[in-house]
Structure formats: C-alpha cells, structure tokens
Symmetry: C2
Amino acid sequence: MSDLQTGGGPAGALPLAYGHVDPALFPTEQLAEAAGEALAQQGQSALNYGAELGCGPLRDYLRSKLARDEGLALEPENLIITAGASGALDMALRLFTRPGDTVLVEAPSYHEALAVIRDYPVKLAAVPMDGDGLRVDALQRRLESLVDAGERPALLYTIPSFQNPSGVTLSAERRPQALELAYRHDLLIIEDDVYRDIYFEDPPPRSIFQMDTHGVTIRLGSFSKILAPGLRVGWAVGTAAQVERMAACGLTKSGGGANPFAAYVAAVFCERGWLEPHIVGLRQAYRQRREVLLAALRATMPPDVAWTEPAGGFFVWLTLPEPLSAAEVLQRAQRLGITFLTGEPFFTKGRKQGRRHIRVPFSYLELGDLTRGMEILAEAIRQSA
Amino acid sequence: MSDLQTGGGPAGALPLAYGHVDPALFPTEQLAEAAGEALAQQGQSALNYGAELGCGPLRDYLRSKLARDEGLALEPENLIITAGASGALDMALRLFTRPGDTVLVEAPSYHEALAVIRDYPVKLAAVPMDGDGLRVDALQRRLESLVDAGERPALLYTIPSFQNPSGVTLSAERRPQALELAYRHDLLIIEDDVYRDIYFEDPPPRSIFQMDTHGVTIRLGSFSKILAPGLRVGWAVGTAAQVERMAACGLTKSGGGANPFAAYVAAVFCERGWLEPHIVGLRQAYRQRREVLLAALRATMPPDVAWTEPAGGFFVWLTLPEPLSAAEVLQRAQRLGITFLTGEPFFTKGRKQGRRHIRVPFSYLELGDLTRGMEILAEAIRQSA
C-alpha cells in the first residue's frame, strides 16, 4: 500500500496538501550507514528499554548543538528525548492540564496539534495573529476575559518561528510580552519550534524559552523537519521539574524512554557530523522552492489575492478576496489537477474563519510542480470569481 | 551513559528487578540487515510520515500471523500499529475514558501500566486474582458495587496470559465469564497479551478478543517481548470503529502512524521468515531459565515461602510467610548482592497488599545468575525470619 494519502484529491492530482518533507531530500544512504553502526556498536542499548530521559549520546549532541547555535546552556536534566514534537505536545496536555482547563492556540494553528488538544477534556481558545505573529494585545484581553468568566487558562500552544500554516514569525518584541502575560496568569507556554533551523536568511529571534526567566516555557524540537519524520524522534527542553515530570509519566516509564532504536540511529548520524551540512542543504533547497513559489504567485495570481512571504519553514498562507470561498476554489482546482488544504481545519471555528484561506506548502513539491501548481490555482481562482 | 539503571540497588548487585529481555537474545545482526534492506528498498516510506494505521507490510504480516497461529480472521481495518503496547494503552485511556471514570485492574498488575492509568483523571479499582487469574466473582461484585455507588466503570485492563507480575494465566473458563460481565456493564476490555507467544508447553487459552462476540475487547500485542523493545512497535486489534478512533486521534494523525522507521525494519525481519524461528528460540531459552529458577527455588527456599509456576512469560511471583516483609528482605538482599522489586508498586494499595510479595523475573539473567540469585534471596529471607 502507499503510505501517502491523496489528500482527498483525485488520483494524479498535484498534492499541495502535504506539509511534508520531500522524500528526495532524505539522506537515506547515510541513515542506513548510521543504522548499521548503531546496531553494531550499541545494539544492546538501541534495541532495549532505555533511560527515561532518552538516548544518552543524542541528548549530549542536542545540548551541544543548542549551545553552539543559540548559546543555550542546558544541564542534562533540562532535556528529554520525545516521540517527535507531537509526542511531546500530547504528553504536555496529559501532564500539565486538568479537565476543564482552557488551552490557548494561535488562529490559525497547526491543524493536527488542534486534534491532539481535542483528545483531552480541555477547552480551546484561539488568539488572532497578524504579520508579526500572535497578537499579544488580543492574548491579554482573552486571558483577562477567561479569568473574568471563571475559566482556568492553563497552557498556550504557539509555533513562533515560520508557523504552520501561516509562515509567519513572532517578532522579537512580542516574545517577552507574551512571557510577561504567562508569568502574570500562571500560563505554561508550549513553544513548538520545529521549523527553527529551516531559515532562509537570518535565524529567527531568540526563542521564548531562551528569554524565559521564570521557567514557564517548554520548547519542542524535532528531527522530523531536519532529518526524517519516520524516525519519530524529537526533544523537549524545560526546567528540571518539567522534564522530570515528563520522564516520570507512565508512557515514558513503561516504554523506557522515547524510541531508543531510532534515537540511536539519529545519534550516530549527528555524531558523524552529518546533520549540519544536511541542514545547510535543506535551507538551500527550501529557499529556492520559496523563491520559485513566490515568483509564480506574483506572476499568476489575480489582483486582491494576498499571501505571506515566509522567512523560513515550509508554508505560504494565501487569503482570497471576498466573496470567494476556498472550498469552491478547491473543487475547481481538483478538476484542473491540484489539491490543497483550505483554511477551515486550522481554526477552532473553522467554517467562520478559515473559508477564505489556502495553505500552500513548498516543502514537498519540486520546482516545476510548484510553478505549475500556482498556474492551476490561479486559473481555479479566476474561474471561481 | 548506561541505559540500564541499577534498579535502586548497589552497583554490581545482580539485577533481579528487570523484567527485560536479555540483550544477548536480540537478533542484532539480522535486524541490522533488515534495517539496511528497509532503507534501501522502502526508504521513502520508512523515513516519512506514514498511513495512520501504520506500516502496510507489517500490518499484512501480523494479520497472517494471527490467522496462522490462532485462526483469527482480521480485516485490514481491525489492526493498527502502535508505539508498543504502552502506547496503545495510553491511547485507549485517552480515547475511551472520561474524567471520573473507574478503570479496573488486576491485583497485582503491571506497575508501569498503573502509572499510565494514573496519568489520566480516572479512578483505579483493583480486583483480586488467584491461581486461575482474575477472580470473576470479585469482578462482578466490584462492578455492581461501583454502579451502586454511582460510579462509571469504563475499562478493564487485564494481562490474561503469563501475567506481569504474577506469572498466572486467566483460565479458559473464566474468559467468557469476564466477557459476559463486560457486555452487561458496557465495559471496554483492554487485553494486554504481550506474553502470548512466550509459552513453554501449550499456547495459552484463546484470547478474550477471540471469544468476544460483541466487540468490547481491544487486544494489544508487541514486538517488545518477541523481538526488541527498543523498536517501540506494537499493535492493537479491535472493531473497525475502535481502530478507526485510534487512527483518527491527534497523536496518530500528527505523527503519521506509529514509528514508521522501526516498523518497516520489523516488517523486513518478519517477511524474511526470521520471527518464527526466533520465537521458538526464545521459548526454549526462557523455558530453560524457568526450569533453573524453579529448581533453585525448591532447593533453597525456607518452608512457607510460596511461588507461582508460570507456564510462560517472564515472571515468578513469590509470597513470604507472615510476619516477613519483602522490604526488609530487600535491604538484606542488597547487602548480600542482589536487588529486586517488592510487591508494593504492583498494587493500587501498595503498602497494605504488596508487602509480602517479591517479583522474580527470569527473562534477564542467565542460568548461573538465576541460581546464585535464589541462593542469596533465600539467605536474605532466612536472616529476616
């Protein structure tokens, strides 16, 4: 069976629905060599239940990477290997919220993160974004009105760098402002920073975690965007107490740390010095795709269609002019040979807020397909107008 | 760093705390070959987000294994790959219980499963066992008294074959009786059957899942006991609706199925025909260890110490005579050079119920160490008497 879905579109349609890495960019041969070495040298650890904090060599590597790239000084007890960023988010919901709590998210936000949150008995509250990311003024009003209503806002889930789906980055100015609100309202911030390394010019602003002086932020990272999502290996950094709670949770204890086998393979890959040049290559590849996509948008889109110009990550976010509906454009687009996700699933109140939006990933398709895809999308928009 | 803890004992102590597989029994070279082939032949699938039901070839293999071994006829929509049995249990708690529900467990039960359950806002209720497993009469009384008290018993977690920690198997007679109670009380049964393949004479009775005519049972399996726990690959079988709910949960959708890379490696291992002879070898190895352990117990233990004689699995469960306390024996034993788990963590009311019990795994230590360990344990018991 194919493991890739058609994204709901007809067979053969260009799949603009995927926010996936292009498999052609996987360093498959190096990973095969790393797997062989991990099993030959450390097979007994890689194949067994492991320490609850996760694969030791990988934790050492990640701390040195974060120190080198960002000047982050982390002790061993500040970092835990997780089953991807998704596994860490799921764990944070389980361990750090109570039934009836309110979880704040960006509008729009990553739709599968909303699905993770909806599996818990919590309420969702969305805070609007603009071109500088999460609107901190709106966050403040929302927090105050929740408290006035007797609710307990417990957690803020944010993707501050090159957000999925909008491509927008939270400005350096707003980050400490969001933190101040978290301090004041006893809010845990889950900072999903999985796109941080995929920047096209400059690195994104210092992370919320790094600016945090009160230990209210858990930051998530992942090998899914910079190596291979099928490994299901990510990490979380936080205070010793937060990390200890994650290490002591039932799933971590019963499983013996997150995914030892894949983590040892990733560790060998990193220890060989292969990750850094691979990330440099990914930045070049995705930057080129962004250039081609933006050029195609400028060349093809009817007036009044707006889009974001991301400085990194995988996504451009398109806004259609009134009264166009993205669902209608999708219908025509599928007949013309492309498929994509409309905005609804990225909002907590999808039908109202998402209907004029289209997420356009540039991570999965090659250059020619991106250009062709935008020509088709523009044609579908024109036909719908 | 070493990924194996000392089990709380002094360095160098014989670790009878582990219920782990002996790493010497891992088929490391075959797994290295399988990893190489999985990446060479199916790297793009193995390294990517996958289908929500999990690795297709592995699902095909598992359905054929269950058909061959047990005559179970499963459709593709009845089986989902999971992040080990632990990941499946965690998911079941999340998706199939509500805050305030009561979860029933065996007394004793696997202590890390209790930890998984305690991470959810549910209540725990324990049902006693005897030599034939879960006491169905006690289950019935407990269910009725819970309902009388206005509680909602939602889920029964049971390890019916070669239980961890007791080594006891639920009799064939009691299995349909437990099912009848589940039908009557709208109870979901999570049947954790991860030791099923590790039988020493005859296979265990037909699974609760197989006897279930109303679709109230989800059965969990795992490669952790029959291949390597570090892979973190297991499976769950259930009704199409149950499996669909697990496939549609946020973590599964966001992660793209459970652990694609490790699952593809396991699939190649199985497709090569390597799993069946490997399991035969494990049965022989563990049967021999059980023989040696039971012989050592008979040769060394003071009168009035009782133990179970498991027909499979990894564990013997020891009961000390009054007024001995296992904690006191452990203190002396550690000075003499072994460490083990006393009974407390396996009970929901540990201090009261577990104090006279000791779990003795025979999966991890080699024959000579098992004999020496029992000699030391017997000496520690004598010193405590």
